[in-house]
């Protein structure tokens, strides 16, 4: 078997929109290579150019300069071939022919993909089950909730069993549980057959972190960093930050500041250092020059009679990666990012809490499954 070409291969992709006061450069030279089988994320703030790149790759938009190939096929000249092996699902839109039944609309799209009539019904019913719309299958599309519509849209996106699925902010505008269901569905579909490729864009960091093997951080039409989430976190320079909870701390946090290797020691905001309570605990945030400075601190605390109740190292977040690389906060200008280390602010510090209400929960909480078995494996039908 000949070697499989890259799932995505773009070279110097530029895209300029003709706009009123002056042209807008949405993409300013993007080189991106994604291997078959990868779950790849494009993370970037609104307006970064994510949708523009996806539109070019899905044959909806022409690039101004550069070349792009999907599984070796040119996006400008071999559109038909690409369309047979890819699909796209966008979020944040209410799409669908309201008058059609869910099952009908999906079947009609299966016909656009050249499935036989009966094969189409079979595939549609499988996918309806996989996305959890059994109870809505004979309802009008217009009667679906936003979350159900997006599940239907996902089913449409899987009709042709694509080699590569493009997901443009697929959970945008969904409530927490619908967003989780969609993420679970994506993960299960991807996992059911080795070699399936996903390109997902998002401005929810936790979503990208939860789903993607590798990601590119995009800003103002450029890729500013690319790698696995762990790579990217490792890449940024950062002091070691620890959070300690102590049964008591005589002299307060500042008494630790003088210890060797301690750059800063502050009372952590969420610690219950309230006066009056019989049992007081003190949480301290320590910024150390490096991890090795922790030992002397622990020794010193022991000498002062402070018991360590808990100790955890705080990991850098993708947010911090973004701030370091781009020099400004991710969440537009509206939020002043959590740069406070004085411990007085809200609970959002460097612990990665995100303002976005529809952001997914941390990975540990997201292990619940939408269905017990994996219906999506069944849709990995052998290809003809």
């Amino acid at each position: 078997m000949p070697s499989i070409p890259l799932a995505i291969d773009t070279r110097g992709i530029e895209r300029v929109y003709k706009a009123k006061p002056r042209p807008i450069t949405a993409l300013a030279g993007v080189d991106l290579r994604v291997e078959p089988g990868e779950f790849f994320g494009l993370l970037g703030p609104n307006g970064a150019g994510k949708t523009t790149l996806i539109k070019i790759l899905t044959t909806l938009l022409l690039p101004t300069a550069g070349t792009a190939h999907v599984f070796g096929f040119d996006v400008e000249r071999e559109t038909k071939r690409i369309r047979r092996i890819m699909n796209i699902v966008s979020g944040g839109e209410q799409s669908g022919y309201g008058l059609l039944l869910v099952r009908e609309q999906l079947w009609m799209f299966s016909q656009f993909y050249g499935l036989g009539a009966r094969e189409g019904w079979r595939r549609v019913d499988e996918l309806i089950e996989a996305v959890g719309l059994q109870d809505q299958r004979l309802q009008k599309v217009s009667s679906l909730s936003t979350g159900q519509r997006q599940k239907m849209n996902m089913a449409r996106g899987l009709l042709n069993d694509p080699w590569i699925l493009f997901l443009d902010e697929p959970t945008l505008g969904l409530d927490v549980s619908a967003a989780r269901a969609v993420r679970t569905l994506i993960r299960e579909w991807k996992g059911a057959v080795v070699g399936r490729t996903v390109l997902l864009t998002s401005h929810y960091m936790a979503e990208v972190e939860e789903l993607c093997d590798r990601l590119a951080i995009v800003d103002r039409g450029r890729i500013v960093a690319i790698g696995t989430p762990a790579d990217l976190k490792r890449r940024i320079q950062r002091d070691s930050i620890f959070r300690l909870e102590l049964d008591r701390l005589d002299g307060g946090a500042s008494s630790l500041s003088g210890l060797p290797g301690v750059l800063k020691a502050v009372t952590a905001s969420d610690g219950s250092s309230t006066s009056g309570g019989a049992r007081q605990r003190t949480a301290v945030k320590l910024v150390l020059a490096d991890d090795n400075a922790l030992g002397p601190v622990v020794t010193a605390l022991g000498q002062r009679g402070s018991q360590i109740v808990s100790l955890e190292k705080s990991e850098p977040t993708l947010e911090e990666v973004f701030v370091q690389l781009v020099g400004r906060s991710f969440a537009d200008d509206s939020e002043d990012g959590g740069s406070d280390t004085d411990g007085r602010g809200s609970s959002s510090g460097t612990d990665g809490a995100m303002a976005d209400p529809s952001a997914p929960p941390p990975p540990t909480a997201a292990t619940e499954r939408m269905t017990e078995d994996a219906p999506l494996a069944a849709t990995g039908l052998p290809e003809r």
């Binding site: 929109y17 938009l61 038909k80 690409i82 796209i88 656009f112 993909y113 994996a374 494996a377």
Partner: protein
Amino acid sequence: MTGLTPSFDLGRTEGRGLRETFRGYLTAARIGWAVEANWADPILFFTYSVAKPIAAALILVVMLDIVSGGQAPAYRRYVVTGVALWSFVQGGFAGLAMSVLEDRERYRMLKYVYVSPTTFAVALLGRGTARVAIGGMGALTTLAFGALVLGMPVDPARVDVLLFVASMALGLVAIIALGLGMAAVVLQTRQDSWSYPEAVAGAMFLLVGAVFPLAVLPGPVQAIGLVLPLTWWMEGVRRSLFPGGVSAVGGPGSLFTELTGREAPDTPALLLALLGTTLLVTLAAAVAFRVSEHRAKDRGLIDQTSGS
């Protein structure tokens, strides 16, 4: 989870030729039939597709009777056939163009149709076909109304079947081609273009002799009418159903008579003119659509919505 590895069989990227094209066309027609006909709301559907042309025919006939004192039965037939046939234009021309706007702005499905392997133009032709079929129901009902209520029965013995079939076939091709051309135009618009197709249809209504002969129009305007295949289509269908009726094209004061010295085109000339103008319009629409599609893809208009 054990998985099958996709075989990455490149054969899957190849099309299945005409069969695939035809399947895409039929599917689009089915979507059109289900979506546009609005079967879920029969009253609304009836109002738009059936009652509207009948009402229009009735109004015009009454006006005509008042003006002529009931002395113009030939014009009655002329007007009623014109209004009936116009249902096809309403569907296949304005409706086809509207489906681009509806899919893009209202259903937000245009991009998903676009990125499927079915050729975009083929999908639109399917939608247009459905609209034409819906229009055909309006046309039939209006003609039936004319026959039963307005006393203008079609005499089966005198119908020129060959002329009827040829005119209808060419005419429907022309209508859909014009619709595709209109779709090419609205594809370029960003918003507020919902009224364009109806407006252009309205203008054509006056140019193609739907309810009055071209002769009443100024010469240069008549020339536009003579280049539009709809004029010849209507002329052909009218003549096939009601032989010896009023000609839309010729007659005193008409550009046609002035140029050819004939009272009205004979049937072969009529068919030739219909064929020629249909070919011209089809070619022009195909070119316009190609250019428009490329430009839309260049400007990011395929999934453009008024909101963003």
